[in-house]
């Protein structure tokens, strides 16, 4: 219990001092996870909507693939992305390994099945008659997509939170493709692992607490957006 208490005290001390490194790490964590979640949204939502609405041969295997992707361990994603991006790998020429871009790529791959899968369910649970009517009224494709996003916003925000939550709490892939480099690719999770292995348990707890608080604040914002009109 001493550790826990010391951790909380250490955390408060770090924030009170405005420790520039911990703020930098926190911001970097937010930016990397934010960018990868946004890209995952941009691809996962249309993909999920298409899978929900279209009937075609081979749909079921693809949906099963998406659902499998929702449970793929981040370390496996990290390993595959690292092997591809290493200098000896097929994409080594891009010089991306151990950079924030590599982390965005890995986190995107982790988030996109989650966003797609949850979007698929969200769109599928819309009343198909509504969409038929919208099309009947002459909506073009962009307008139809807009109606879908509006109507399914509760589920789509759940997709956003699932994707963001997965990438912000993920450590294996970030460690492998980012390398936990100080000032470049060190994020809250990898810094927590590092400080634990260095025996700085209090600092590690402080970092972990920071991550929790940040995740809570971000999810609070999403949730208030999500629930706002529900009761309006």
């Amino acid at each position: 219990m001493d550790f826990l208490w010391d951790g909380i005290r250490e955390a408060v001390k770090l924030w009170a001092r405005g420790d520039s490194e911990i703020i930098e790490i926190t911001l970097r964590t937010l930016v990397i996870a934010g960018i990868s979640t946004l890209i995952a949204l941009a691809i996962g939502v249309p993909l999920g909507a298409a899978l929900a609405l279209k009937r075609f041969r081979g749909r079921s295997p693809i949906v099963a693939l998406v659902h499998t992707g929702m449970g793929v361990p981040p370390v496996v994603v990290g390993l595959v992305v690292a092997v591809l991006l290493w200098r000896s790998g097929p994409l080594g020429g891009l010089n991306l390994i151990y950079s924030p871009s590599a982390m965005v790529v890995a986190q995107f791959i982790i988030a996109v099945p989650l966003v797609t899968g949850v979007s698929l369910v969200a769109v599928q649970s819309l009343n198909p008659r509504l969409l038929d009517q919208v099309v009947a009224l002459g909506a073009n494709r962009a307008q139809l997509l807009w109606v879908i996003v509006r109507e399914a916003r509760l589920g789509l925000l759940a997709a956003l939170m699932a994707g963001f939550g997965a990438v912000i709490s993920e450590v294996g892939a970030s460690m492998m493709v980012g390398g936990n480099i100080a000032g470049e690719t060190r994020v809250l999770t990898t810094a927590t692992v590092l400080e634990t292995s260095r025996g700085n348990i209090e600092v590690a707890l402080a970092l972990g607490l920071m991550l929790l608080i940040m995740a809570y604040v971000v999810n609070l914002i999403f949730t208030s957006v999500q629930q706002e009109r529900r009761f309006a």
Binding site: A49, W86, F108
Partner: protein, 346 residues
């Protein structure tokens, strides 16, 4: 934060979802297109013929390339990136936090320190995925150099390994200065022993000591952690087991450990740290920066820094600088300094 898979029902598209029936909500404003009231339902699906994610994929790739392109904009003599593969014990000591920024300022090189087990570090070098190494597994390093994967190998510093054990010392080895004999006793008593088990330099040293003891460690008393030194020490501490550790990690963690030093001062417990550069012929290797890194570690300034590193904090040095020495000379220096406290205690 994973979504439960059961959430995804295989509900048919035709089923009415209850919450979608919100009659109060009017459809959003539509474009002034002429209404196509007779459009059949099938047309709804054809609206997705051209998937929207193709251009988005292209945008993603462009973003990745753009971020990759920036960042090489300093005009120092060397510049570029240097991937330095090192071991967790080097990283966890904090030494590189002092050395790397100094080197970066001097050379203009951007150093990316990748801390992995020695086995992984050697593999990174073999495949040309790193530019330089800072490791402590002399036999494996020699093999790497002999195979032509690395060049310019130089000794930087040394310290020692020690065997830690619980207070009650079930195998009765405390105070001994013969590591192999102590291991033989631990095996005979089947006292619990936690091994790194990760192919690291410390693990390789441990295996060499078992071989010297003529024991093949097997059985429920011998447990492999498969983790870094710090995590392994914590496990051994919680399990009240014997464990082999490097001195730097032990000193850094000693406040949190109940384990005591049981065996030290055996010349066989010497821990040599070397740098080397990955063979310049391998594709993409930044050889000039790697050569500069090797030279940097050999400089007087860095050697002094190593000598004094965290010395005040622990009341004794973590590392002994050894640039310019052969392994033989370092071993002689070490046994001279190691044997002395052995007589004092014994």
């Amino acid at each position: 934060m994973r979504f439960p898979l059961s959430f995804v029902s295989k509900e048919g598209q035709g089923a009415l979802a209850p919450f979608a029936q919100r009659k109060g909500e009017a459809p959003p404003p539509l474009s002034p297109d002429p209404p196509r009231a007779t459009m059949p339902t099938v047309m709804l699906h054809s609206a997705y013929r051209r998937p929207a994610w193709v251009p988005l994929c292209a945008a993603l790739l462009a973003l990745a390339l753009a971020t990759a392109a920036c960042g090489d904009d300093d005009d120092s003599p060397l510049g570029g990136d240097l991937i330095l593969a090192t071991t967790t014990s080097v990283r966890d000591s904090g030494l590189l936090d002092d050395l790397v920024p100094l080197f970066e300022r001097r050379s203009g090189v951007n150093v990316k320190v990748i801390a992995v087990g020695t086995g992984a570090a050697l593999r990174l070098a073999e495949d040309g995925n790193a530019d330089a190494l800072f490791v402590h597994a002399p036999d494996a390093e020699r093999a790497l150099v002999d195979a032509g994967h690395a060049v310019n190998r130089r000794l930087v510093m040394y310290n020692d390994f020690l065997l830690l054990g619980p207070d009650d010392d079930p195998a009765v080895v405390a105070g001994s200065h013969d590591a192999a004999a102590a291991l033989a006793r631990i095996a005979a008593a089947e006292s619990r022993f936690v091994s790194r088990g990760d192919g690291s330099g410390t693990h390789q040293k441990e295996l060499a000591l078992w071989a010297a003891a003529g024991v093949e460690p097997r059985g429920s008393w011998y447990q492999e952690a498969g983790q870094g030194m710090g995590a392994t020490l914590t496990i051994a501490d919680q399990k009240r087991a014997y464990v082999l550790t490097d001195r730097a990690t032990f000193l850094a963690l000693s406040d949190d450990l109940e384990l005591r030093s049981a065996v030290e001062g055996d010349p066989a417990l010497l821990n040599l740290y070397s740098v080397m550069q990955v063979a310049p012929g391998k594709g993409g290797v930044n050889a000039p920066a790697a050569a500069a890194w090797v030279d940097f570690t050999q400089s007087r300034e860095v050697q002094d820094l190593i000598r004094d590193f965290r010395r005040d904090e622990f009341g004794r040095p973590l590392f002994v600088p050894a640039a310019g020495k052969s392994e033989q000379q370092a071993a002689e220096d070490f046994s001279r300094s190691a044997v002395l406290p052995a007589f004092v205690v014994g």
